[in-house]
Amino acid sequence: MEIALVLGVPLAGGLLLGLVGHRSWAPEVNALMSLVTFGASVLLTARVIADGPMSALDEQFFVDPFNVFLVALTAFVAFTTALFSRPYMRIEQHHGRVNAARLRLYHSMYQLFSFTMVLCLLSNNVGILWVALEGATLSTVLLVSLYRTPASLEAAWKYFILCSVGIAQALFGVILLYFAAEKVLGPGGTSLLWTHLYEVRDQLEPTVLSLAFVFLLVGFGTKVGLVPLHNWLPDAHAEGPTPISAVLSGLLLNVALYAVVRSKVLIDGALERNFSGGLMMGFGLLSVVVAAFFLSRQRDIKRMFAYSSIEHMGIMTFAFGMGGAVAAFAGLLHMTVHSLTKSAIFFTVGHASQATGTQNMAQIRGLIEQSPMIGWGLALGSLAILGMPPFGVFTSEFMILTTAMHEHPWATPFLLVALGVAFAAIFGKVQPMVFGESTAGRLPHPPALVPVFVHLGIVLLLGVYIPPYLTDWYRQAARLIG
């Protein structure tokens, strides 16, 4: 029942907003739909905590501690981003960058994108997960090119081609997985269900599975933004409307990583050696290092934070690659805090670039003077994402680093250097944007800053105190994947 609500509300919202998305009250409908989805996800979470894992509709959908935690996070960030998008899109309309038809497209696709995200997470069928992940690209590609500028069209084209090709590799991986599973489970619908695959994972053919994992990692890894498959990510983040940058970073990357981790669990069961973990650690570390060095060369503020997302996805991939209960716990925590912090940063960045009329960091100055809340939001968000204590990012990065020192000491210097370089780059660029002589003007609508501080507040809370039920929940999920 709750599953039907979580899936049905955004789907219905997408259809409804396809009809009325251009009306003046459409942003409120959008936020309301996201709120109802979030409410349903809370009910679902409560149900899973009380009754344990469950499945629905002939086992096509399933919920366990790992995905229910991501469903709740996804629905929450989708809701707060919808709140942020209300004034943001109104200001864009005021500036003449979008018209009514494009707003209708925007609102409708926003809900459909949320739908594909929860479908990915809740689907028990690997094939449907693939379909939904491709659906996520299809629903956001026209949003990346929403402004129809040459740069945004180029970004959207790149996003479309690279992600479609990448995800096609993943389809080949799914076919290979099905090929291996069919031998054990027999042909038909059940051979692609995570739950069934998980039960027979030690009987699956290792050669086929290792080849399948390479394809799955490359395919889903393109969506995660792992280097060297990351080329679409900075462009798509920089050229689209900021709410889309926020949900790409906050939701899509997480969900793609979820798909990788689910595949890893199967492969680990089938193979003796730590093949998948090694690959993921390699890709993760490469992403962290490359992204950190690209950070300092950025001029566009959204591009810079997009590279920061690549860096953090690399950290998570590395953590899940290491495996083990602590690293998986830290990876999950990092997923949560990164998603919340990065979307909060994009909210402030969106309003900051609207106030100054540019995304070029050299021309954004003295935010704190004109609009203190935006300035403080950006400053605190940047400190949080850089892993300053007492924010939650510090906790998860600290856990990942100590585990790495313990189990893979060779990787620690790379991680530390990359984190240091990232700190210097981002801090050095954010500081003059926040303080000094102001270049910002007044916004025609009051900005949405409540979501920013709610997100940062949660991240701060997670840094100093993780509530016991949340710890328990993370532990259960970490046990599933660790």
């Binding site: 094939g127 693939w130 379909v131 129809r148 081609i161 042909p187 080849l211």
Partner: protein, 218 residues
């Protein structure tokens, strides 16, 4: 080897031949025709596998392939290039003989990669998995070397054909719900590509993606 299996092998060879033909073809209209032929070969081989093994859901898959990949998508592409006036020749990044040589290398690589899997397969059509992988890689190559937007999309669709062929040849096809989902994605994707062509043309007065190489790190 039974006659039907041989026939499927023949169609697989035809598929590979078409992949090479696409790689060497300069004209957009001919490319679309080749894509439709590839779809037809795919549908026919799916139907034969369905008939010889009694897997009825494969008939639906074959029907879907005919509707989507032989009729609808080529027709949409045809209409698009009529409206956009892009019948001219396709430029390639590398000259065609070199591309063909790289293609042969890819085929050898694909067969080497598929050998361990093929030995395990018990299906009627196991020897075709290498060909399926080869045509996926050849379409990939085509996407890399073409500079215009339309041939890139055709390369993407050809890649999807190769993947479907891999699914039928290695496993007798994926569950129907997955195939329907994939078909829906391909269909929606094609329409979005179409919308894109108009936006790109409006903005750049051409469908040459060389205009779209400004976003990069310096």
């Amino acid at each position: 080897m039974p006659l039907l299996a041989q026939f499927v092998n023949l169609l697989a060879a035809f598929l590979l031949l078409l992949a090479f033909a696409m790689l060497s073809q300069r004209r957009v209209l001919t490319l679309i025709k080749l894509l439709a032929w590839q779809g037809a070969a795919l549908a026919l081989s799916t139907a034969i596998v369905a008939w010889s093994t009694g897997q009825t859901h494969l008939y639906w898959s074959a029907l879907l392939t005919v509707l989507l990949k032989v009729i609808l998508i080529p027709w949409v592409l045809h209409r698009l290039i009529d409206r956009l006036f892009v019948r001219w020749d396709v430029e390639t990044l590398i000259n065609i003989p070199t591309t063909m040589l790289i293609g042969i290398g890819l085929v050898i690589f694909a067969f080497a990669l598929a050998t361990p899997i093929t030995q395990m397969a018990t299906t009627l059509t196991r020897s075709t998995l290498g060909i399926a992988l080869a045509s996926v890689l050849l379409s990939f190559l085509m996407m890399i070397v073409r500079r215009k937007a339309v041939p890139q999309v055709i390369g993407f669709l050809a890649m999807e054909n190769g993947l479907f062929f891999a699914a039928t040849s290695a496993t007798y096809g994926m569950p129907l719900v997955v195939e329907l989902g994939v078909a829906l994605d391909v269909l929606v994707g094609t329409f979005i590509f179409g919308i894109f062509f108009f936006h790109i043309r409006e903005q750049f007065d051409s469908l040459d993606i060389r205009h779209m190489e400004t976003l990069k790190e310096d």
